[in-house]
């Protein structure tokens, strides 16, 4: 009770003289007002806690350095420091906007990872394996043209030179290869989708 009667000015002067307990009284006396003020601006417990801490770190350093002058009152001075730190906080967060997933809008509905996930990778491998197996069912001449065109990326002119047939024959073999593959797929009810 006796401590409550000591004015802020006396406590500040005692603290500057080395009485560490005086700071405890000052913090206990004003913590609720200062913290509530910061919270009313930032609406986040953790950020309010950080700003409250930074405010008093500034207060402690200024008092210990002896740069504090008793012109104004202690509480308005501390409130001004916390106000400035709140402004600094908003300046920083404007420079680096943060998205939180608290409302209806979810940032992850806009951003997506283009890489395939484990399930899609497995499906892709399976589809590719099935296509290979279907190709194995084709006659050798059709399979040869298909592999050269689709896997080796050769033009029909290059295929005709390599296989020693005309371009039209190579085109025809490619056409029959695709028709036959579709038939095999339909016959065995193979699903080749991702």
């Amino acid at each position: 009770m006796q401590k409550e009667l000591i004015t802020d000015a006396t406590l500040v002067s005692n603290y500057i003289k080395g009485d560490e307990g005086a700071l405890g009284i000052l913090i206990t006396r004003h913590k609720q007002r200062i913290y509530s003020f910061i919270y009313s601006k930032v609406y986040d417990k953790d950020i309010a806690e950080d700003i409250f801490q930074d405010t008093f770190i500034k207060v402690i350093r200024t008092l210990k350095r002896g740069s504090y002058n008793e012109e104004g009152k202690f509480l308005p001075w501390v409130m001004r420091i916390s106000h400035n730190l709140v402004i600094d906080h908003f300046r920083k967060s404007n420079r680096m906007p943060k998205f939180s997933n608290s409302g209806e809008f979810s940032i992850f509905s806009v951003l997506s990872d283009s890489a395939l996930d484990a399930e899609k990778t497995l499906i892709k491998e399976q589809v590719e394996r099935d296509v290979r197996r279907v190709m194995d069912e084709l006659p050798e001449d059709q399979k040869e043209v298909l592999v050269m065109r689709m896997y080796n990326d050769l033009s029909f002119k290059e295929i005709s030179e390599k296989t020693g047939v005309s371009i039209n024959t190579a085109l025809g073999r490619m056409r029959y290869a695709l028709i036959n593959m579709r038939k095999i797929i339909d016959k065995h009810n193979i699903i080749l989708t991702n």
Partner: protein, 48 residues
């Protein structure tokens, strides 16, 4: 009519306080901080 004459509900302000850890940190920081003055220069040391 009853509603018109009823008292306004008291708006209680929620009292918010910082965590005790934060206050303890500040008190310990204050004890650890030492400022040395030398020719218009300030040297701050935190002894922990």
């Amino acid at each position: 009519m009853a509603k018109l004459y009823s008292q306004n509900p008291k708006r209680e302000k929620i009292k918010r306080n910082p965590k005790q850890e934060t206050v303890d940190f500040l008190l310990n920081y204050s004890k650890a901080l030492n400022v040395l003055k030398f020719n218009n220069m300030n040297f701050e040391t935190v002894l922990n």
